[in-house]
């Protein structure tokens, strides 16, 4: 019984492991190239300037919340509601695949368990018109 369970777990890990690992590497590389400078390699952010992503409410919440931040940057957060002084640019020029990789990386690392995001999820969020709050 115990052996069977282990075998199934091993099999499952064997099937999904390499694919997940490849995706994580790409997500890590994209995160470091686009996000890590400000949010830091460890996701710790910079006090008062750029938010930490560790155990983050946003990264553990609905998929759209992280996608929207990547697509629109800090412009979607009213100035008075932000505790951080730096501005995050829009990364909407990245491909849907790359945004999905970054969002997945953030939602599955730094003590976050929000889960994966697909390119279709990103496409869906691109179609949503958010109220402009730039101020």
């Amino acid at each position: 019984m115990w052996v069977n369970k282990l075998a199934i777990l091993t099999l499952a890990a064997g099937l999904s492991g390499p694919a997940f690992a490849a995706s994580t590497d790409k997500g890590h590389a994209l995160y470091m190239a686009n996000c890590g400078g400000c949010h830091q390699a460890d996701g710790g952010g910079v006090p008062m300037m750029q938010p930490a992503l560790i155990d983050s409410e946003r990264a553990n919440g609905e998929k759209g919340a992280v996608i929207d931040m990547i697509l629109h940057g800090s412009a979607i957060i009213p100035m008075d509601e932000s505790d951080y002084s730096n501005e995050m640019p829009s990364f909407s020029e990245l491909s849907d695949d790359d945004i999905a990789e970054i969002a997945t990386y953030v939602r599955t690392h730094f003590e976050n368990h929000g889960g994966a995001v697909s390119a279709d999820d990103v496409r869906a969020r691109r179609a949503v018109r958010l109220p402009a709050v730039r101020n």
Partner: protein, 431 residues
């Protein structure tokens, strides 16, 4: 025995030129818990001693010390609703016994004492109260300057005074390098940079006139990305400042800058600033290794091409991203002559040097004579604020110097806003 009282100062959430409310209530509260774990040991030259003057006071920024020894600290975020705290050491043991909170509803960075008044800056205004002999202000605040535009980046309004009744205010650029698309890889710089019209410079005001506005005031100097560190040098009668250089060279221009080069560039510039000075931002930056101003890559630079537009040379280019957050010339004459006429600079420490370890997190001294000549290499005066390194992520730094002030007895106060907020006090005890 620590006495801690929160007191209402002014409550005007939306700062405008409208009159402000007077002080009203006194509300005793419990002391905020000080974060003591892994507190760093600060190293200073022989003959000096460091005390933790106060801990757990909140997000401490700049400070000013009154003739009676009260230390006034601006808080970047309200502590239980208050934007400033007054501290006093009653028994002379180097530790504050009284903590009185004031400036209700505000948050700020700048504090200064001038002509019998205590000045305080929020991101959009500068106000003042009559300086009390002791404790917190009790008079109605006056609005000295209002109407600064609300902005996210570089929004703080640090200030200083000259000896002729002027107030000098840093209006930071809400930008990294005046890019067309804010902090986006591949974006060019706007040319001419429209931000310079109302930001990115020092504006001069009458220190004693109320209800002034930036739009009607005189721009004193330009080309300044963000100068948190500014002070009037009383020995040469001139404004000096240290400014925060631009971020993310390698991130946006990997073809020109390696991560290692980007960790150290551009130099953090220390300047003497005369009226009409242009410090070069955003068209150029200072490369401290080459000793020249270089063309900014957003404006056609490639890391090797010297600047072709105006921009004065700094006196010193400190290592990149150290973030100079305050500047102080001593006035009391209580320390050895070596420290009398030069500049102390508090470095907040970097966030933009990855993958290299983060650096800065110290107070340096620039030896200068009374004519303003730099007489030797700058030296680290107080260090160890970050705690045990290497610091790979800025959140791991225990303390990050943000402000400097000199007490009437000559003590040097150093503030830090993280891990609960602290004030260190350095005194000369002799050899």
């Amino acid at each position: 025995m620590i006495r801690e009282i929160f007191t209402a100062g002014v409550a005007f959430a939306c700062l405008s030129l409208a009159p402000v409310a007077p002080a009203t209530a006194q509300v005793p509260t419990a002391a905020p818990a000080a974060t003591e774990k892994a507190a760093p040991v600060i190293s200073v030259p022989e003959g000096f001693k460091v005390d933790v003057f106060a801990a757990g006071i909140g997000r401490a920024r700049h400070m000013a010390v009154s003739p009676s020894g009260w230390v006034y600290v601006a808080l970047m975020r309200p502590q239980k609703g208050f934007g400033a705290v007054a501290l006093h050491d009653d028994n002379g043991d180097g530790v504050a016994d009284q903590k009185l909170y004031f400036a209700k509803g505000l948050r700020g960075t700048g504090v200064g004492i001038h002509n019998g008044h205590l000045y305080y800056s929020t991101d959009v205004s500068i106000i003042r109260w009559k300086l009390p002999d002791a404790g917190i202000p009790t008079t109605k605040p006056e609005l000295i300057v209002g109407g600064f535009t609300r902005q996210r980046q570089h929004s703080a309004k640090p200030f200083t005074f000259d000896d002729a009744g002027h107030l000098y205010v840093n209006v930071g650029a809400p930008s990294n390098a005046c890019m067309e698309k804010m902090r986006q890889k591949g974006s060019k710089g706007m040319d001419p940079c429209p931000i310079l019209e109302s930001y990115g410079g020092i504006w001069r005001f009458d220190a004693d006139k109320t209800m002034q506005e930036q739009a009607k005031a005189e721009r004193y100097a330009t080309g300044i990305r963000n100068a948190m560190a500014l002070d009037w040098n009383p020995y040469v009668n001139s404004l000096y400042l240290a400014m925060h250089g631009r971020d993310q060279l390698a991130e946006f221009f990997p073809q020109y800058y390696s991560p290692k080069e980007s960790a150290d560039l551009p130099g953090e510039e220390f300047h003497k600033v005369a009226e009409g000075a242009n410090l070069g931002w955003p068209y150029s930056y200072y490369d401290q290794h080459v000793g020249k101003r270089m063309k900014m890559p957003e404006y056609g630079g490639d890391g090797k091409t010297p600047a072709d537009r105006p921009g004065q040379m700094p006196l010193i280019g400190f290592p990149g991203h150290w973030a100079p957050n305050d500047l102080l010339f001593r006035r009391t004459g209580t320390w050895p002559a070596h420290y009398q006429t030069g500049a102390f600079i508090a470095f907040h420490g970097s966030w933009n040097r990855a993958p290299e370890p983060q650096q800065g997190y110290r107070v340096v001294y620039v030896p200068m004579d009374k004519k303003g000549n730099i007489t030797g290499q700058w030296e680290t005066f107080a260090n160890g604020f970050a705690g045990k390194g290497p610091i790979m992520s800025p959140r791991d730094a225990y303390s990050r110097p943000t402000g400097l002030a000199e007490g009437p007895d000559g003590a040097l106060y150093i503030s830090s806003l993280v891990h609960g907020g602290r004030i260190y006090r350095v005194t000369y005890v002799g050899k």
